[in-house]
């Protein structure tokens, strides 16, 4: 194409170098890809960690060459994992998965890729902030990973890093430099998340193309919008929690410390409260669960509608439940603290608000299932992952009813019952949603198709192993087994359920190996996959009206105009089973 014709299109096609195109890109599609590739890397690191500590849990005191290979003689003498390293791995696994993969990775990838494409905008409101958002994310990832190589090991007080444990270097080796790295990394992460979130909100509210009213937005965009609002409102609170912790650690304040005697001496700290930290942490921590879940649910809504060839059932109810979940998520944080000595009446209030969340969640689950009813399901890999998500959302969700009940929580709090619950309801669900999104929008991201057969193999191994890993954990929890135990040798009462740990670990190993299928497919297809067509899934949304090859500004010509909602699948007024949003209404056609 000559420069003259490009000029005719009126876009800003200035000359791009490798550096501005691939590294310091301000194009939302490229930034989305950067987030994705970083998140895939981080996910493999975190997954490898889980395999290592699963080996320890299934066969404590056994010697493993592979453990020594990864951890070295210092942290795994004779191939047996050091108990401090066990806590460190559990901590960093949680931190990476929750924040770097399922917050940064999930929102970063799909909000970036899809918001401008699905609302019909040339790019994000601010390309620069968007680029900064990625680079803060990259920097915080690097710092988190580098903390693994510190002398005293990385932070190891659990991903929630409760003080005083995390505030006192005397309390455990990981609370030294490792904890400092953790706090610095997380602070940068929060900056990244805020830059991204503000950008998403502004873009969605201001840059919608002609005809794209809020009630015509695809559910993905609704989910990204509410997610971004939750992040912008709650991450600053985590930031202040981190800041106060930094002060306590390094500048002699006592926000979280009081009456402590450790290592043979009394600390000069009075009047602080460790519980204050927990309130601040969970004020983010609980909305965080939905910051993770909503984008996955949004992605699922889109994929299930497209591949059932049916409108998503109850669009308005779906939007309403996203909003309700978003609102309620801010007033439930206390359910993480029923056994901290909280005022019992306050506990009761949190029981009520928490259980209310079950209502919009149930509505969503029912709507997904009804969307499948009398559909014409096309089993793309993305569809398989989406259906699996609905199952795990339900299975993990129902045990939440037990944990939300303060009375029942007393005895299962901090046991494997909780580990099973949240790994299924948000870990497994969100990962399934993320993978569904990758399979579905890979052609949009890379202009090539992922291999479908490998996708099937990846899916079935993953789905079998995921429940295989997390479902038995409920039984460990009901037997009273606490989480974060290096081994249970001190407690004979758990001997009867220790076999479960072997079952879990075997599934974890197979499931992890199965991810290599994905990794291979992902890398191979980026370079050598079948070249994609413009609208491979016969979808209605605007991103499929752009050319396969990326152009800066998304549409070569003028921006598309929207005439209908995104879910006109199998509309009896039309012969085709899909009607893109850009198709004008027929005469006499009634909008939904």
């Amino acid at each position: 194409m000559s420069s003259a014709t490009i000029h005719d299109h009126g876009h800003d096609h200035h000359h791009e170098t490798f550096l501005t195109k691939y590294i310091f890109s301000q194009d939302h599609k490229m930034i989305g890809k950067q987030f994705l590739v970083t998140a895939v890397f981080m996910a493999f690191v975190a997954m490898m960690m889980s395999v290592l500590f699963r080996l320890q849990l299934a066969w404590p005191d056994e010697q493993f060459e592979i453990v020594k290979f990864f951890l070295g003689e210092k942290w795994a003498p004779e191939g047996v994992m050091d108990r401090n390293m066990y806590l460190a791995l559990v901590t960093i696994h949680g931190t990476i998965m929750v924040f770097f993969v399922l917050t940064g990775g999930l929102s970063g990838t799909f909000s970036n890729l899809l918001i401008p494409l699905q609302i019909g905008a040339r790019d994000m409101a601010s390309g620069l902030l968007n680029m900064l958002s990625y680079w803060f994310f990259a920097l915080s990832s690097i710092i988190m990973i580098s903390s693994l190589f510190l002398e005293g090991g990385p932070a190891s007080g659990g991903w929630t890093v409760y003080p005083p444990l995390s505030a006192l270097p005397q309390a455990m080796p990981g609370s030294g430099a490792g904890m400092t790295f953790w706090l610095v990394s997380m602070s940068l992460f929060i900056v990244s998340s805020l830059l991204g979130g503000l950008n998403y909100i502004v873009t969605i509210l201001n840059l919608r193309t002609k005809g794209m009213s809020m009630t015509r937005l695809p559910l993905t965009i609704w989910a990204f919008l509410v997610t971004a609002i939750l992040g912008v409102l709650s991450f600053p609170v985590l930031f202040s929690a981190a800041l106060l912790l930094i002060m306590d650690r390094s500048f002699g304040t006592a926000f979280y410390l009081s009456d402590i005697f450790i290592n043979g001496e009394v600390l000069n700290a009075t009047g602080g409260s460790p519980i204050l930290y927990q309130h601040l942490f969970w004020f983010l921590g609980h909305p965080e669960v939905y910051i993770i879940m909503l984008p996955a649910l949004g992605i699922t809504s889109e994929i299930i509608a497209t591949n059932s060839r049916k409108p998503i059932f109850g669009y308005k109810a779906m939007v309403g439940s996203i909003l309700a979940i978003g609102f309620l998520s801010f007033i439930v944080w206390g359910h993480h603290m029923f056994v901290t000595g909280m005022n019992p009446f306050l506990g009761s209030v949190f029981v009520v608000t928490t259980l209310l969340i079950a209502i919009p969640s149930a509505v969503k689950a029912f709507n997904y299932i009804t969307t499948l009813w009398k559909g014409q399901i096309v089993y793309t890999p993305g569809m398989l992952f989406s259906i699996a998500l609905v199952s795990s959302f339900v299975t993990g969700g129902v045990t939440g009813i037990i944990l939300a009940d303060s009375t029942l929580d007393i005895n299962v709090h901090d046991t494997y019952f909780v580990v099973g619950h949240f790994h299924i309801v948000m870990g497994m669900s969100a990962i399934l949603g993320m993978l569904a999104g990758v399979y579905h929008w890979f052609p949009k991201m890379f202009g090539r198709m992922l291999n479908t057969k490998l996708g099937y193999a990846h899916f079935w191994f993953t789905f079998v192993c995921a429940y295989g890993v997390f479902f038995p954990m409920h039984y460990l929890g009901l037997a009273g087994a606490p989480r974060r135990y290096y081994q249970s040798s001190e407690f004979a009462m758990f001997d009867g359920v220790m076999d479960l740990n072997v079952i879990i670990t075997v599934f974890a190993i197979i499931g992890s190996l199965a991810q290599l299928i994905f990794l291979y497919n992902f890398i191979y297809s980026i370079f050598r996959g079948q070249v994609a067509t413009q609208n491979p899934w016969k979808s209605n949304t605007l991103e499929w009206t752009t050319t396969v090859k990326h152009v800066h500004g998304n549409w070569d010509g003028p921006l598309p105009e929207v005439h209908r909602w995104a879910y006109d699948y199998s509309n009896p007024d039309w012969d085709e089973d899909f009607v893109p949003q850009t198709t004008p209404m027929k005469e006499g056609e009634v909008a939904h």
């Binding site: 444990l165 209502i359 399901i377 089993y379 339900v394 129902v398 029942l408 057969k453 039984y475």
Partner: protein, 394 residues
């Protein structure tokens, strides 16, 4: 050697996948098949696999329940625990029912409605009646769950009875200490500022106050004179100065502790025990929890009891044991069975073996056991006080 083997296997697996997919790729090219064209056979296969998956998943559920059901916690050994268990059973039945219902609908629909050539899906954007039903019904059920839970919650968190036995559970990295209120069933005041080898929980009596002040004064004087008369490296001098200022701050804090004589006398008869503690069956126990260093959690699963122990504050939990250790040994058929207190909040490297045994026995046996335990007065070396207490006891 095994390292190389593992590596070789991984490499081989990757090569195998690569080769297979290359073959597949070639065959696809020949057939000119596109990745997004899902054949009827593929659709049908995945749809049927959904059903197979559901059956396998349910079988796994049933297998786990049958095979491991007997290893779950035995019957609750406390009054409120029995209520918790009833509620838990009801809830488990309810959530299992929802689990089966929803998953069955999902997997059955997924297996039934795969795409057939030439057919169109049902166009059904919404159905207000249906949506109302599945909003209202869960709301009513949840209301019932909330109310039934809160009734028991109120009960559990109620104030202790007058005659409840007061026991302090004290945590530190990495063990537990139990402190009994003694003859007066009242705990003496305590603070981390008074912890010493003979006073591990920092119980405060008039002697402790005097001793501690004297000890700190002596230490402060010694450091001051050292700083004046000896030569230190910069680092050592700074460390000494920090220590000095901390000691002075502690001295100021201690000077602020004002207690009446009565309050100072409360702790003499307290009894500290480690490794195991005893409680009588049928009497309410009012636990008070304190922590010395980081947050721990006192988890007593057999009594359905758990409470965090938090430095700087006191937390509480009441239980009334209903089954003695001996009876529970008969019930479980395990002659080595013991009730345990374990730590359930990550607290450092030895978190996993922070344990104390709990013995539930008849009130008579309990009184006998308690009489044999050393009083704080005795442990602290206050022979006269200890003798007085022993005389009063008789």
């Amino acid at each position: 050697m095994s390292k190389i083997l593992v590596l070789a296997v991984v490499v081989l697996v990757i090569i195998a996948i690569a080769q297979l997919s290359k073959m597949y790729e070639l065959s696809r090219k020949v057939a000119k098949k596109r990745e997004e064209d899902i054949s009827l056979a593929s659709n049908k296969l995945n749809a049927k696999l959904m059903l197979v998956y559901m059956v396998a998943f349910y079988a796994f559920f049933i297998y786990l329940t049958v095979a491991y059901g007997e290893h779950m916690l035995p019957v609750a050994a406390s009054e409120h625990g029995a209520k918790v268990d009833t509620l838990m059973d009801l809830n488990l039945v309810f959530v299992s029912a929802v689990f089966f219902l929803m998953n069955t609908l999902l997997f059955v629909f997924a297996s039934k409605y795969y795409k057939r050539e030439g057919q169109k899906a049902k166009f059904q954007p919404h159905d207000n009646r249906l949506e109302l039903i599945w909003t209202v019904i869960p709301s009513i059920v949840l209301f019932a769950i909330i109310i039934s839970g809160l009734v028991v919650w109120n009960d559990i968190t109620d104030a202790p009875k007058e005659d409840a036995i007061v026991i302090e559970i004290y945590s530190k990295q990495f063990d537990w200490t139990a402190r009994y209120g003694g003859d007066n069933n009242q705990l003496g005041n305590a603070s981390v500022n008074f912890i010493s080898a003979t006073n591990p929980l920092g119980v405060i009596s008039s002697e402790v106050l005097v001793d501690k002040k004297a000890e700190m004064n002596a230490e402060i004087e010694a450091i001051e004179s050292d700083l004046e008369n000896k030569v230190f490296s910069d680092a050592n001098e700074a460390a000494l100065k920090t220590k000095l200022s901390n000691l002075k701050a502690q001295r100021a804090r201690v000077a602020g502790f004002k207690y009446s004589d009565e309050e100072l006398a409360l702790g003499y008869d307290d009894k500290l025990v480690k490794a195991e503690f005893h409680i009588p069956v049928g009497r309410q126990v009012h636990f008070q929890f304190r922590s010395q260093d980081v947050i721990h959690s006192a988890y007593m699963p057999h009594f359905r009891a758990q409470m965090n122990t938090v430095p700087g504050m006191t937390t509480v939990f009441n239980i009334t044991p209903t089954i003695t250790t001996d009876s529970m040994r008969t019930i479980t058929g395990n002659k080595d069975f013991n009730y345990v207190l374990m730590c359930n909040k990550i607290c450092g490297s030895a978190h996993y073996n922070m344990k104390m045994d709990i013995i539930v026995e008849s009130e008579e046996d309990y009184n006998k056991w308690l009489a044999d335990q050393k009083t704080f007065a005795k442990a602290y070396g206050l022979e006269e006080k200890a003798k007085d207490l022993a005389v009063n006891n008789k």
